[in-house]
Structure formats: C-alpha cells, structure tokens
C-alpha cells in the first residue's frame, strides 16, 4: 500500500461514490469508533474494498493506513477482492452440517465451476461459507444476497440459481 499515490478522484462514476463516502464520514465524525461503519458504507458503495478506498478512509478519518487495513482484513465481512453480482453463502453451522451442508457446497462448487471463496468468470456469483446464520430450524440453508433458502436438497439448486441473473 505504501507505493500507492494519494488518490485524487477525477470526475468519474467513482468520484460520486467518494463524495458520498466523505459525506458519511463527515456526518459521523463526532461518533467514537466509527471506522467499521465507514468500511460498511464503503463496501456498500464500491462493492468491495480496493486499496485506494481504504487509503481514502484513512486520510479522511485521520487514521494510519495500516490500522484501516488491519481492521478491514480482520473481519470476514469485508472483501478486498471484487465480488460477483450475487453472493451465495452456504451455512456451515452445526445443524446444517449434520443435515448435509457439505453436499450442498460440493454441488454448488461443481455447478458453478469455482471453489469456495471464488467468483465466477462472468461475475454472476461469488461462493462463500459462513458458520451459521441462525436459520437452523430449516437446515440445510444457503443465503443468496439477503435471502435465505432453506430445507435444501441438491435437486433444488438449479431452480434457485435461476432466480439470480
């Protein structure tokens, strides 16, 4: 990161996003410990956290770049690589595991031709795992974007993926 030059966003689609991010930081500057919400906002705007965005946050919040980078990489929610239009998260909680989550993951990896943590070439899906989203009553479950699909069998996957273009 040290080799990066200071970012001066020019008039571009991303310029607007930087403005929004800056506005958010300024609005909340009196609140203590606001780095994580700022990273949330940034990821919402940019879809992931490229190094230059983290640098921008460090500048605006008057923090060191290493601190921002350290926090962003600690939490699994923050992505430092581009992600697909839809995020598939396979629940690997105990209840789902006992009811066959591994099979669901294997099948998704096969269908999408990617491994866990990767994104399809057409940027349609990113596949990931999470320990438990608390929908154990319907195990096994997957979450696509913010929608939970439960009581899954491998046969149901095609129809579900079809809903997300």
């Amino acid at each position: 990161m040290s080799k990066m030059t200071i970012v001066e966003p020019k008039a571009s689609p991303s310029r607007e996003k930087y403005d929004q991010l800056k506005k958010f930081i300024v609005e909340n500057k009196d609140k203590r410990g606001y780095l994580i919400p700022a990273l949330y906002k940034a990821q919402e705007l940019f879809k992931y956290l490229p190094p230059e965005v983290m640098e921008f946050i460090a500048q605006e919040m008057n923090l060191s770049e290493s601190e921002v980078f350290g926090v962003a990489t600690f939490y699994s929610y923050f992505k430092t690589n581009p992600i697909g239009r839809h995020t598939i998260t396979v629940c690997m909680g105990t209840a789902c595991y006992v009811r066959g989550a591994q099979k669901i993951l294997d099948e998704l990896e096969k269908k999408l031709g990617i491994k866990e943590g990767e994104t399809t070439e057409d940027m349609r899906f990113t596949l990931g795992c999470q320990p438990c989203f608390g929908s154990c009553g319907m195990a096994p479950v997957i979450m696509i974007d913010n929608h939970v699909h439960g009581r899954l069998t491998t046969n149901m996957l095609d129809a579900i993926l079809e809903q997300y273009k």
Partner: protein, 597 residues
C-alpha cells in the same frame, strides 16, 4: 378504534419469511378485502413463534386455532371458510407425528404445552413493529417503576435476588455484574447488549430481536439507570439483517414517543441507544473483543482484569449483557424476584431458551424452566428423532460445548450439571445428532470452525487448534495412530490452561467430550479403518448388491472416473482401485442397490 372481531397472528420470523410468510400476509390482505372482512379482521405480524419446522405458521384469535405450512393459495379458503362461515380448515392443522391425531389449538400441541415463556413472553403475540402493542403488553411499565419508585441500588438488589445469570454462556450473576459497574468510579458509563450470536446452532437472540426488540431496549435502559449510564450500544451481527431492521424501527418509534432521549417520562433520566453492526468475527462474542470492535478496532480479546465493569468501552465502566439475559429483566421488575426465582434449580434460576435443531422432528425455539432433562426436550417437546433413527448424541453449547450421549440424557440441565458432563450451557444451541453422524467428524468440524475463527492473538489457540485439526483430519482419513489420542488429550488440557480468552479455553471441549463418550469410534477409525456412520469418505467402500442391481447403467454413466462397469440389464461392479468414493453412484441409484460401509 376499529371494530375488530378476529386477529390473524402471522409469524414473520426469518424461517417463516424464507418459506413465504410475507406473501401469505399479502394474500390474506387481498382475500379479506375480497370477502369485505378487512374492517373486522386484523392482521398482526408477529415475531418467531418457535416452531420453525412447520413454517409459515399462524394463529387465529380469539378461537386460538393454529395453522401450519400455510401458503398464499390457502389464504382464500381460510377467509371464506373459517372467518366467514366459521368452518375451520382441518387440512392445515398440526398432525401429531406418532398418532396422526389432528390438533387445532396451539397450546395443546406438545411442543408448546411443555414450555414456560418469560424471555419470549411477547414473541409471537405482539406485532413486531408496533410499539403500541408492546405498551399494551405492559411494555415500559417496568422502566416507569424503576425510574419513579426504586433507587438504582434497589434495582440491583432485585436482580441479585432473582438469581438471574448471564445467558450468553458463562452464567455470571447479572446483578453482581451490575453492582460492580455501579460501584466503579466515573461519570460516563455504558450499557452494551451482546447480540453477536455466533455459536453455530443458536438462534434465540436473533428471534428475540426480531420478535420483541422493545423488551431488550427497555432492559438496557433499566440497566443504564441501575449503573448510572446514559448511553447504550447494541452490537448485532451482520448476518441478521431482519433483526437489524426491526431494531432500527423500534429505536425510531421509541424516539418518537420520547422514550429515548432526554428527561424520559419526566424523571430526569436520559438515555440513548446506537446500533453497531458486527462484521463476521466469531471471537467478537467475547466481551473484550466486542468492546474493541465497537471502538472500531480489530476484535481481539485482551487479558482480564481489568474487567469491563471497571475498564470497558473507551476505557470507561461498562456493563455488557446478552440479549436473552436482558429480555428477562422487565419481567423480574414487574413480577418480582421471588416469582422468577421460583423457577429453575437451586443455583440456576428462571428459564432458558434453547434452539432445537439437527435430527429432531420439531426444530425451532423453546423456552423451558432450567432443570428440565435433555430427554424431555428431545422426545417430549422435540418429538424425537425422525425416520426411525437412533440418537447418537446431543451437542449443547456450540463450539465451546460438548456432545452428550444417550446415557446422560436424564441429567437435569443447569449450569453446573452441564459442566460436570464436559459441556456448557453456552448460548443454548441444542443440535440433535442421529446414528448417521460420525462423532470424530463432528470433533473435526468444530476444530475446523475454531481454526477459522481463532483471532490469532495467542499461540495456544492459534497453533494448538491447528495441530489438533490436522490430527483429527488424519484420523478421519484412516491415517491416525493410537498415540494420537493421548496427544490430543494432553494438547486439549494445555490449550484450556493457557489460552487468553474463553474461545481458546473452551475450544477443546468438543474433542474432550467425544473422546470421553465415543472413544470406541476413534479407535474404530484408527485401528479398523472404519467409520460406522459412513461419513468419513476415505474410509468408505461402495459396493453394488448384484441381487438388487437391475443393470440400468445410470451409475456407470454418472461415475466421474468410469470405475463402474457391466452389461446393460446385468449387475454392475465397482472397481475399488479406480473408485474415488465420491458417492455419486449411491445418490443416483434408484433401486437401493449400492451400499456403502
């Protein structure tokens, strides 16, 4: 006020929502309008009713008729038949799994009959977003009582007397925690609510926030009054978008009613709450890690003391309580400490919410008096194990807990008895495992989880769990040695003794309990290269039963490595040297001809 004769309570918990409960509400609105009943029948969207397995579920009041697995297509029939003509729709009744008997009234279903709701008293009854409903259910009356009739010290005494202990895992007495923070010097103090429910298999906090967030917020204010804090933070994990949304609505409603802000109820008490969203780190459920995360830092734990009661958020005195703990507070204030303490066991008072999941007929949330046996939970409330399978173990307490075998199911569960069995109460996740579960694989599963979630700050947890995971993986692959078992046990004790926080200190519990109760399974894996549950694929052998095989060739076509050969309409064979044990043939066979062992 409208002239309402009937209310439809429709569950809007996450489980029911993902099974179409939102569409059911929409369809009801249309059907009621069509039948011109929309002025006399009201729809109440409630929080989780607990019986997630049967979702979407609903209750018709005042009759109390309970319908399960309701689809948008059913709504017109319910309106036309039940609401208009008074003829109940029997096909949507709950059917008793053993006798097939139809049950129409919610309270008569075994699952509900044996429960006692305190923390979940409003869940499934009040409208999740309507502050008026909460007020009607005696909401904020406890707050009013403490602000006008009690001193902070009296509030603390009452909570101490109730015997309430932390429901997040460790079971520390809540009143004592409050007293420490109240006595700590300092003008600025904080109240935190831990809603970073990370234990796999636990979802009670989520459902309480979704179904009755006002209770939790009211309790935070009572805690604030007791310790002298005027600012609260509620830390919710990002995986719970619905809970976050409902909390946001609740906080906005309370501000509108001036129940948050300055001079609340004209008593001079100020309080405000902010939501902070977690970002996917299990360790943040640990109190010092959670505090670091709210401060905007990496969520790593730190050594205690100093305890948060003295040095917590931003270095100031802080009380941190779990969602379920807080949900009990208004009840205790309203009904008295004695009432609360009359439930439970000698050292563990009140009720506990458990999340019942895994291989059990009725999955969902239950609240029972502490001291009930696991057998009552699994068989009487949970309805037993489906598909005529046998029980192997009950996993309680998540990655910090343990696996309890059949022979200990009659132990009365409280904080102490579970500890004796090698598990912990934890947050209350109960995962039932049937005979198709491999206990070595479960130990490996938890160690894999801990490896992912260990923050890496201290060596015993970071490196020790890595070594244990490697050993367990080898055993699952049939490459283990008998000495490994001794090494595992020794490592486990060392990690317990030397880790910094509870995550590391309890991480070996799943290994220790499985070694204690299921040692023979470990030995089978190592000595006989056998996995009796058929889970550990490397130890599996797939074979075709020539008597059942019809020679349909489906398995041969599906086999990715062409290990299956045979003529059409004649029995096929698997070449064991080529087979990669992927199990595709097993899943593909329609004649049950392929067996794995």
């Amino acid at each position: 006020m409208n002239n309402i004769r009937t209310q439809l309570l429709i569950c809007q918990g996450t489980s029911c929502v993902s099974n179409g409960a939102v569409e059911v509400v929409k369809a009801f609105k249309a059907a009621l309008k069509e039948a011109k009943l929309d002025k006399e029948v009201e729809i109440i969207t409630t929080g989780c009713m607990g019986i997630c397995e049967l979702g979407p579920v609903m209750v018709v009041y005042p009759d109390g008729v309970f319908y399960q697995r309701v689809t948008p297509e059913d709504t017109r029939e319910i309106v036309q038949e039940h609401l208009l003509k008074g003829r109940v729709v029997q096909r949507l009744f709950y059917k008793k799994p053993d006798t097939g008997e139809l049950i129409s009234i919610m309270e008569e279903i075994d699952f509900f009959k044996l429960q006692k709701t305190i923390a979940r008293r409003n869940c499934g009854i009040i409208d999740v977003n309507a502050i008026d409903d909460y007020i009607g259910a005696d909401g904020f009356v406890a707050l009013g009582k403490v602000l006008t009739e009690m001193t902070p010290q009296e509030v603390i005494e009452e909570i101490k007397k109730s015997g309430l202990r932390g429901r997040g895992g460790a079971g520390f007495p809540t009143g004592l925690k409050w007293e420490f923070a109240a006595k700590a010097p300092g003008k600025q103090k904080y109240v935190l609510c831990n809603a970073d429910e990370g234990d796999p298999g636990a979802f009670m906090d989520r459902s309480m926030l979704e179904g009755d967030s006002y209770s939790v917020l009211e309790a935070m204010m009572i805690a604030g009054y007791a310790i002298g804090a005027n600012q609260g933070y509620i830390y919710v994990r990002a995986e719970y978008p619905l809970a976050i949304k409902r909390l946001e609505i609740a906080i906005a409603e309370m501000r509108k009613y001036e129940l948050l802000g300055k001079n609340i109820l004209n008593t001079g008490f100020d309080f405000d709450v902010e939501i902070r969203i977690g970002a996917g780190a299990f360790v943040c459920g640990e109190e010092t890690a959670l505090i670091h995360s709210i401060e905007g830092k990496r969520g790593e734990p730190r050594p205690r003391p100093p305890f948060p009661a003295n040095k917590g958020l931003f270095g100031l005195p802080t009380v941190l309580n779990n969602v379920e703990t807080l949900a009990n507070i208004p009840y205790i204030i309203l009904h008295g400490a004695e009432n609360f303490a009359s439930m439970g066991t000698e050292k563990s008072k009140g009720t506990k919410v458990f999340a019942l999941a895994g291989d059990v007929t009725n999955t969902g949330l239950i609240e029972v008096p502490i001291g009930i046996t696991l057998r009552e939970i699994v068989y009487n409330i949970g309805g037993g194990i489906p598909n005529n399978k046998k029980l192997r173990a009950v996993q309680i307490g998540g990655p910090s807990g343990g696996c309890i075998p059949e022979e200990h199911l009659d132990a009365r569960i409280d904080y102490e008895s579970l500890k004796e069995l090698g598990a912990i109460m934890g947050s209350g996740g109960l995962v039932v495992m049937d005979e198709d579960t491999c206990m070595v694989d479960i130990a490996r599963y938890f160690m894999n989880f801990i490896q992912d979630e260990s923050c890496g700050k201290c060596t015993p947890c970071r490196e020790g769990t890595r070594i244990m995971l490697d050993m367990l993986t080898k055993i699952c692959q049939g490459k283990g040695k008998m000495e490994d078992l001794d090494v595992l046990e020794e490592l486990a004790v060392r990690i317990q003794d030397t880790s910094l926080c509870a995550l590391g200190q309890t991480a070996p519990n799943p290994i220790l309990t499985t070694l204690r109760y299921f040692r023979d399974e470990y030995i089978e894996h190592i000595r006989d290269k056998k996995c009796r549950a058929g889970v550990c694929k490397s130890l599996l052998k797939f074979e075709i039963n020539p008597e059942k095989c019809t020679g349909c060739t489906v398995c041969a076509i599906k086999c990715p490595v062409k290990a299956i050969s045979g003529e059409k309409k004649k029995p096929h064979k698997i070449d064991q040297n080529i087979c990669i044990k992927c199990g595709v043939c097993y899943d593909a066979c329609r004649f049950n001809a392929i067996k794995s062992h």
